[in-house]
């Protein structure tokens, strides 16, 4: 299957330079097929977050081209960006939650921008929040939650609209063993339902005993694939 099918994510000679002396990504070539579950790993500062940011268009590459679902991102107009982002669920390393809003409101945001009807929205949001184990804290403000709980809100928001692509940036960074296993299991389940997943982490135990593809980034270059 791989090789014959058009990759869902494709990077060609992608470089990202933040400043003259900060080269975060250096001519990265990468293909990810539809339905794949890929671990992206490497030491801190290797460029994992940068790579993901380029995919959801928070940053633009300095050079090289990126294709998602056959769409060349460099040719994307500003008005097309929202359409792309709706296909990508992102779990941000810094969560990016609204601290003064409830868990429910934060997760609901993903569906509100899609114009979901209230009833359906409520049902789905509650279901997903229960899925990450926060069913008893639906109307708590995010600021009153622990770091691990906030991380799970971020996960819930990323997956509630069932995007075909999920980019997870250290989604287990604040979680204990048990919660970490739960999150990985959740990703497995979403992957089994067809979602393509890019999972950035420097926690080797997550992929050591799996057969999953692991991409090792170091100093902005792919060291191992």
């Amino acid at each position: 299957m791989i090789g014959t099918e058009q990759p869902i994510i494709e990077l060609k000679k992608v470089s990202k330079r933040y400043a003259r002396d900060i080269l975060a990504l250096d001519e990265v070539d990468l293909k990810i097929s539809k339905g794949e579950f890929v671990f992206l790993t490497g030491p801190s500062g290797a460029g994992k977050s940068t790579l993901l940011k380029l995919l959801y268009l928070a940053e633009r590459p300095t050079s090289g081209s990126i294709n998602i679902e056959g769409l060349d991102l460099s040719g994307l107009s500003r008005s097309q960006i929202p359409q792309l982002r709706r296909k990508i669920g992102v779990i941000f390393q810094d969560f990016k939650l609204l601290h003064n809003r409830s868990v429910f409101e934060n997760v609901a945001l993903s569906l509100e921008v899609l114009g979901f009807k209230r009833e359906q929205l409520t049902k789905r949001v509650k279901q997903v929040i229960e899925g990450v184990g926060l069913g008893d804290k639906l109307y708590r403000k995010v600021i009153q939650l622990s770091g691990g709980e906030q991380q799970r809100v971020a996960i819930a928001r990323a997956v509630v609209n069932r995007p075909p692509i999920i980019l997870a940036d250290e989604p287990t960074g604040n979680l204990d063993r048990k919660r970490t296993r739960e999150v990985v299991a959740l990703m497995d389940e979403l992957n089994a339902r067809g979602a393509t997943i890019v999972f950035a982490t420097h926690d080797e135990t997550l992929f050591r005993n799996t057969h999953r593809r692991v991409i090792l980034l170091e100093n902005g270059k792919i060291k191992e694939d």
Binding site: P82, Q83, L84, K96, R118
Partner: protein, 294 residues
């Protein structure tokens, strides 16, 4: 576009920044109030000018001893003068009746006055199309030479001045309108910018989860539209209350009544409200476009 959610967000925004939004609306009210008063002044000035322009043309007072039979002859003579549109004879009695009507509330003033003390007169309307001040002067001079004529008055000059003044006021009104509208739009868009500034994080997150610009801007546009509509609406209502109060307090004197004052016509009110709403929304849209780098 999920309009229900946009409305909900707009009202939540307004609730959470109620004081700021109220202050802004107040500024819109004041701005529109200035404009409404100007407009009211201008419209009524024009009405007064029109009114007197019709009533006062040339008045030919006859000597008191002129006999009734002479009247039709004089009438014919006047009508035959070029540039005259209408001639009306006002007898002493008619003139006195008018006076009585004029002083309806203070009739005692006229008690014991001889009803024929006023001289009979011709009221001459000049054809507007042919009107020019020199011609009026000529006609007046000519008529004043007649034997039967006591005195000729032509009050057009001050009506002209009034009309010129009213034109000036109207020009000033247009300038003032433009200035005030820009001010209102500026203040409203600035308030919205402050609100947006306080919500930058939220806007960034909304964008990251795929919100369109319309979805992000919608609530702010709704809020400024409301401010524009409510502000101008309140201004019109306040102006009307003030106007009604003044009319009630002074308006029952005959002098005031003779001015035939009126409040703004409906089409003016509608345009003020619509334009105010439009400008506030547009101002905000432009400010947001730049601010959000859309």
């Amino acid at each position: 576009m999920p309009f229900g959610i946009i409305l909900k967000r707009a009202f939540r925004d307004i609730r959470q920044n109620l004081v700021t939004h109220l202050m802004t609306t107040l500024v819109v009210v004041l701005t529109c109030l200035i404009f409404v008063f100007f407009n009211l002044f201008s419209i009524n000035l024009q009405r007064i000018a029109d009114h007197f322009g019709k009533e006062l043309a040339i008045i030919v007072y006859l000597k008191k001893d002129v006999s009734q039979e002479k009247v039709p002859v004089l009438y014919q003579k006047i009508v035959s003068i070029k540039g005259i549109k209408e001639v009306k004879f006002v007898s002493s009695e008619d003139a006195f009746k008018r006076l009585e009507r004029y002083f309806s509330n203070e009739r005692e003033i006229l008690a014991g006055v001889d009803p024929t003390f006023l001289p009979p007169a011709f009221e001459i309307q000049i054809d507007k199309a042919l009107y020019n001040p020199n011609r009026v002067k000529e006609i007046a001079k000519e008529i004043s030479k007649w034997n039967e004529v006591d005195k000729v008055q032509y009050g057009k000059e001050w009506v002209d001045r009034l009309e010129n003044f009213s034109k000036m006021v109207r020009t000033a009104l247009i300038f003032c309108a433009a200035l005030l509208l820009v001010t209102a739009a500026f203040v409203v868009s600035n308030t919205i910018k402050l609100t947006v500034y306080a919500r930058q994080d939220e806007i960034e997150i909304m964008r990251l989860v795929g919100a369109t610009n319309g979805f992000i801007m919608g609530p702010y546009l709704v809020a400024s539209l409301l401010q524009g509509l409510l502000g101008s609406g309140a201004a019109v209502v306040l102006a009307f209350l003030a106007y009604s109060y003044l009319i009630k307090a002074f308006g029952n004197s005959s002098f005031w009544e003779s001015l035939h004052l009126q409040f703004l016509p409906a089409e003016n009110i509608i345009s003020i409200v619509v334009v105010s709403g439009l400008f506030c929304t547009l101002g905000t849209a432009m400010a947001l476009r730049r601010f959000l780098k859309l």
